[in-house]
């Protein structure tokens, strides 16, 4: 069973906290069960290579992995790093080679590489190209698919002010997650299952990666306006009235917060169940792609009753959205260029130009590409 919408069932929004141009909205869990815990395992290599199942390799700087423990009977357990375990001594390597993005390392224990899991899902979309060998495509593409795909992102430590904002952020009681906005652009959502795990993982947000657009916004807007509601005080005559007005505006503001993240929370998503662990399911997802709006990729764990236990998202920038959208459209029309062009209201040549602009020129035969580029 796949999910079609990301919801925040079981969570409540608290008031936003702002520092510099970073705004964060805390998410508070109503009921803590403690049967799914997430711990952090740091890696200090320069870069890591992940060996995927299908003979492909994923290479990136990976600062840490998450270790997920769960209990099938729903009884509370402790998270990785707090239990007694033997320290394994390893040589000081510059490169780490890992097997798979998600790996079962013990009974009821799973290692996953946060966000890289989603990125890999994103990069692998329509990786093997077309089943039909159309004339226009290059030999390599028909034989091997897209070959080597890569995307550039910025590390959180490049986003000026994020580290300080995370440091001075006041974590609420029972807080398990946060909606992160940089320069008031919705950047990322991060949710875990247990408040203690959140406390531990809060600062790991600075080690995550963020898209080019966010980095731009971060340069452009250094200060944010306050996000306090305007109060209509005409009918307030007693402290009780004041309290009522406060409660009303509290719920209004929560709706507003929800609205600001609506491109993640209200959108339909395309998801894939990648792991089942007892009553929990791990999914990858991409929001329904819309060039006019923000688009996100991410990974999440849902409990069987629909409560969200883990969520981490990455916002795609415009080019990244366009690339994935193009691949999807091509796939929809069986990689037939003419049909695809028609569906996009373009000529075939301008579609080829568009393909080249997005960095996929190499999938076409050089002469066809050259002709198309010269024809315009």
């Amino acid at each position: 069973m796949n999910i079609d919408k990301i919801n925040l069932k079981g969570l409540t929004l608290a008031s936003a906290q702002t520092y510099g141009n970073v705004r964060m909205i805390p998410l508070i869990r109503n009921k803590i069960r403690g049967d799914l815990r997430i711990g952090l395992k740091s890696y200090d290599e320069d870069y890591s290579v992940v060996d995927l199942n299908d003979k492909t390799k994923y290479t990136s700087y990976i600062p840490h992995g998450f270790i997920v423990n769960w209990d099938n009977n729903g009884s509370p357990i402790c998270s990785f790093g707090t239990e007694l375990y033997r320290k394994n001594i390893r040589k000081d390597n510059k490169v780490r080679v890992k097997k798979r993005m998600v790996k079962k390392i013990d009974k009821n224990k799973l290692r996953l590489l946060p966000l890289h899991l989603s990125m890999e899902y994103y990069l692998a979309q329509h990786f093997f190209g077309s089943d039909i060998i159309w004339d226009e495509y290059s030999k390599d593409f028909t034989k091997y698919g897209l070959g080597s795909r890569s995307e550039f992102t910025y590390s959180g430590s490049d986003i000026y002010g994020l580290e300080k904002a995370l440091k001075v952020f006041e974590i609420n009681e029972n807080q398990v997650g946060v909606l992160l906005y940089i320069a008031d652009a919705f950047t990322s959502a991060f949710i875990v299952s247990h408040p203690n795990d959140y406390r531990k993982l809060h600062n790991s947000l600075v080690e995550d990666f963020y898209c080019d657009l966010i980095q731009h916004y971060n340069y452009l807007y250094k200060e944010l306006p306050d996000m306090f509601p305007k109060i209509d005080d005409s009918n307030i005559n007693s402290i009780n009235d004041l309290r009522k007005a406060l409660d009303n505006s509290r719920s209004d503001l929560k709706d507003f917060y929800n609205y600001t993240a609506s491109n993640l929370l209200d959108c339909y998503v395309e998801s894939k169940n990648i792991y089942k662990m007892g009553t929990f399911n791990l999914y990858n997802f991409i929001t329904y792609l819309d060039e006019q709006n923000e688009n996100h990729i991410g990974e999440c764990i849902y409990r069987e009753d629909g409560e969200i236990e883990y969520l981490k998202t990455y916002r795609l920038d415009k080019d990244q959205t366009n690339r994935i959208k193009l691949l999807k459209t091509l796939d929809k029309y069986d990689w037939n260029l003419r049909d695809t062009a028609r569906s996009m209201n373009q000529s075939k040549n301008s579609l080829i130009q568009y393909i080249d602009k997005l960095g996929f020129g190499y999938i076409l035969k050089p002469d066809i590409l050259k002709n198309a580029l010269n024809s315009l």
Binding site: E170, I171, N172, I239, R250
Partner: protein, 473 residues
Amino acid sequence: MDKERLNQIIKEDLLLFINACCTCTVQKEFYTNRYEQKMSLDFLHEYMLINYRTYYMRILAVNINQFNKTIIILNLLSNGKSTPPQLRFEENRLITSALYKLPANRVYKLFQKIRQSGINNRRTRAIVKNYLNNRKDLSFDIVKYRKKINSAVAHNHIKLDGEANDFLFSGYKSGRFKTELFESFRQAHFSKEAVYKLPYTVAEGFVKKHKINRSIFLDKIKSKMTLNEKLRSQELGNKKNIKIKIDLSKASLTKIALYALSLPYSRRKERLDELDNALNKAAKRIISKWNLGLGKVAAVLDCSYSMSGSSEKKRRPLAITLAGHYLLKNASSEYKAFWTTDVKKSLLLQAKGQSDLNTPFLDALEWKPEKIIILSDGYDNSFWRISDIIRIFKTKIEKRKRTGVVHFNPVFDAHELEPRRISDLVPTIGLRDSEDIPSLLPFADLGEYKESLSKLENFLNYCKERLMKQVLI
């Protein structure tokens, strides 16, 4: 500009500066770092020194923190030329009196700074010499602050009585001394036993030289410790199983609160009654000196994560809040505390959670107190701005003005050059030690817009006279 507006600006400048001087110690804070703090404070001092010289020196008499007093004295001494002739006498008296009220370590550090900044004039030399000659136990100071007094004496060409100069400049190599403490210091270089006749900090320096076991050292030296040193070494003593006896309630209120909060949760729980008693006693001691006469008081107390301070000021804002809680509890006829998080026992307090001032403030209003005192760092991230609530309460709900609201802020905000405000309708007062609450309460009234500059001037004059009368030299 008309005169009234001008006076208003002067008054605002003065209050801003006094507020900054009450809080800032150029230490790292939760939101701002050392450099930001230093830049802001240096600017304020320079601005005051150039524009309001007369007020600047009189502020020495106000209950600002010791750190800022030393900066004012240093600035005044380095700028003697610009003192108007008719005020020279007053300025000198103020500096001398302020020096006597400061603890010795601050003064000697100031003397060292005088040398480092190359200030050398007749007045400075006289003031330093006068201070040294009037110390009750100079030989003790000389042993304890050797380096600093050395630089003061050398820089100002002072000839001290007795063997002091020999001791300062030739040290233990110049042979036997008649002064007992000097002789002990000399002997301590050769004998283990003589070490224990020295002040704690000096003796500490010999521990490594003689390879003395730390536990034995601590046990033998504990009688030589000052009150604050004893308080600081309590946990060290516990680790080594050595009981360092101390009458907690004799220490200052904020220091006890700091000590209490430094204890781990379980230890605090064990010693709940003892700490509670000590805090109450210390609070009562302060109140007995002041005629506060507070009626029904509600305290809105912030214990959010930002009150945990910084690596340099660990839990200080929180300790000030806790101490303030005890002070107000003992000073008012009816009292209730409203914390930002759910605090059952105030001593088991922890700085965590979001700064939500809305809820406790509304709860406090409902209780209908005569006075509301808010202790917070001024960073509010609740749903509503606290200033909006205060505005609505003052303008719409409470038509006839009754409830007084005062905000005490233990944190200096370097960006705004003053402790962060929570509302324009409420005076914000900077606070370094909770003991200053009684003396700073009058400022709350002075901060109001309608109050005139002359009232503040009167207050400054009163402080000045009081200081000069207290210390007669």
